[in-house]
């Protein structure tokens, strides 16, 4: 495992284990995210990716989740923070974008209301301050800012639009870290690439770090600086995208590479070989 970036730029440094409902879910997970980088976290479903994201945000049920270790974020250990302290971080310093945009928006509320609530959670000011903030963040995700759009209910929008609204909500308070949990998996290929491009653009323009969680190594490859591979609750490999793709160390990573539906320049023969090796 390579830690080749300077220490002083580390935004988040996690080293912890987690038991949920008395079952070990994450085992000695080590993960570091640098300021401004896009970090990929890849693993198949059930590997504990989402749990990891939830642990960072402190959103797991306190009674059932027992974490040991630490998650250093900026100057504090997230695992030691109170709910109150965590709440001030959520949405302001660390924000989250979930997989299915339509169910992640409250179907009973207008877009404007939901954005307003998100703004009010960490800011106070006049209605026009709030309006400005909403407009700015909507512009940043290339959504219309007119009244007609703001009056819409989630059910009246396309999936892509809904995902942009969620992203707008997530970047509203200019967080230093955005966690995108399978944020593009539910989208069609074209929308997917648009959203990925949006993430990349936001990362470049605001300098916020992104923890990009996905089961799909291919989609991660396009935007991530570094990739961590999570397998059965452990980070089995972590490195730059080039490293991972060029020289996968762990057997699981190799299998992931082999299963990629993309035709690599090296040609199908390699793929065959690795696959054969894996099955043997």
């Amino acid at each position: 495992m390579a830690f080749d970036t300077p220490q002083n730029d580390t935004l988040l440094s996690a080293h912890f284990s987690l038991r949920y409902a008395d079952k070990p879910v994450l085992r000695g997970v080590r993960l570091e995210i640098q300021r401004g980088e896009v970090m990929g976290l890849v693993g198949q479903s059930g590997s504990g990716k989402s749990t990891l994201a939830m642990t960072i945000l402190g959103l797991l049920e306190k009674k059932r989740a027992h974490a040991e270790g630490s998650i250093q974020f900026q100057d504090s250990d997230l695992l030691q923070l109170s709910e109150r302290e965590l709440r001030t971080l959520r949405g302001r310093s660390i924000s989250l974008v979930l997989q299915s945009p339509l169910s992640s928006l409250n179907p009973a509320l207008r877009i404007r209301t939901q954005l307003k609530e998100a703004w009010r959670a960490h800011a106070s000011g006049t209605n026009s301050d709030c309006g400005n903030a909403i407009r700015t963040c909507l512009e940043s995700v290339s959504l219309p800012t007119d009244d007609e759009f703001l009056r819409k209910y989630p059910s009246q929008m396309s999936v892509g639009q809904a995902q942009r609204v969620l992203i707008a909500m997530a970047v509203m308070h200019r967080p230093v870290l955005l966690i995108a949990d399978e944020a593009t998996s539910a989208l069609d290929v074209i929308t997917q690439s648009e959203i990925l491009a949006l993430f990349r653009a936001l990362n470049r323009s605001t300098g916020m770090a992104i923890l990009y969680i996905s089961h799909d190594l291919a989609s991660v490859a396009g935007i991530c600086d570094r990739i961590a591979i999570l397998h059965q609750g452990e980070v089995v490999e972590c490195g730059t995208t080039e490293q991972i793709f060029a020289n996968p160390q762990h057997e699981y990573t190799q299998r992931l590479m082999a299963a990629m539906p993309r035709i690599l320049p090296a040609g199908p023969s390699i793929q065959h070989k690795t696959q054969a090796a894996a099955t043997r």
Binding site: L57, L59, K63, R87, T88, L89, R90, G91, R92, S95, L96, L98, Q99, S100, S103, S104, L105, N106, P107, A108, L109, T113, E117, A118, A121, H122, Y153, S155, L166, M169, A170
Partner: protein
């Protein structure tokens, strides 16, 4: 086309409600003789110029009784329905949202409530009340009781709905945005309980109106000579055919029309949202 017809329906509903409310508010002028006056020489009379809806069995003007009864029922039944809905939302919704021990306690209380021998309790309630209460106090107490007791079934539904909302994506997303718990409940849970709450509210109104009439058996409910929709509906007991005395059905029709109008008018937003 559709929205136009809806618009028409809404206008109609609005007109009906304004008319009914105005008429009942103006009962003193429209029926100056009052609801208690007994025309003992014209009992059980069919509609006439003097008595637009005829008279009841002891000769009281049915039109006057409908007007005054509307005042009572239209004010108190929705008030009681609102009370019970609020309690259901608070008890069921909050318990479901908080989950865990809270939900268990709330549901145990609800089960206890559902299994209580109501008849016995209501008889006790009547026994605790003095016999000499004015008709108005009697009907107020009755609707208050109905409001305080009618929340249980809705609370169960609300509890499960709220529990499923709690683990929903948008609540998780909202928590990730940093909304405080209280805000989460009011902004994200309550609005999504609305369909259940609406249903509870609208079902409660006619149920309470009829319950009030039936509680007369226990010496609760509106007391003579004051009218209520419930006591007017009681006239329909044992009627065999509609054709016989159709004017007696006016209170029933009024109840149906008013409840439907309210529903039409207030469910507008829901329809647009859907």
């Amino acid at each position: 086309m559709r929205s136009e017809s809806m618009n028409l329906g809404r206008k109609l509903a609005c007109a009906v409600l304004v008319l009914v409310l105005a008429a009942s508010a103006a009962a003193n002028w429209l029926a100056p003789a009052g609801y208690a006056r007994q025309y003992r020489d014209a009992t059980g009379a069919p509609p006439s110029r003097a008595h637009w809806l005829g008279t009841d069995e002891i000769g009281r003007d049915r039109f006057a009784r409908v007007l005054y009864g509307t005042r009572i029922s239209l004010l108190l039944a929705p008030a009681a329905a609102f009370l019970s809905t609020l309690m259901a939302a608070f008890i069921g919704g909050l318990a479901g949202y908080l989950g865990g021990a809270w939900a268990r306690i709330a549901m145990a209380v609800t089960d206890l409530f559902l299994s209580l021998p109501w008849l016995f309790l209501l008889i006790t309630a009547r026994a605790l009340m003095p016999l000499n209460v004015s008709p108005l106090v009697s009907v107020l107490v009755t609707f208050l009781l109905l409001g305080l007791l009618g929340w249980t079934t809705a609370a169960r539904v609300l509890c499960t709905t709220a529990a499923s909302l709690r683990s929903s994506d948008f609540v998780r997303q909202a928590r990730a945005v940093g909304l405080p718990g209280q805000r989460l409940f009011w902004i994200h849970v309550v609005p999504n309980l609305k369909p259940v709450l609406y249903a509870q509210f609208w079902i409660s109104i006619p149920v309470f109106i009829l319950s009030e009439a039936n509680l007369g058996i226990l010496g609760l409910g509106v007391a003579e000579p004051m009218p209520s929709w419930g006591s007017l509906l009681k006239e329909l007991e044992g009627m065999v055919s509609v054709g016989e005395e159709p004017w007696k059905f006016v209170p029933l029709i009024l109840l149906v029309v008013v409840v439907t109008s309210f529903q039409l008018l207030l469910s507008r937003q829901e329809e647009i949202a859907a």
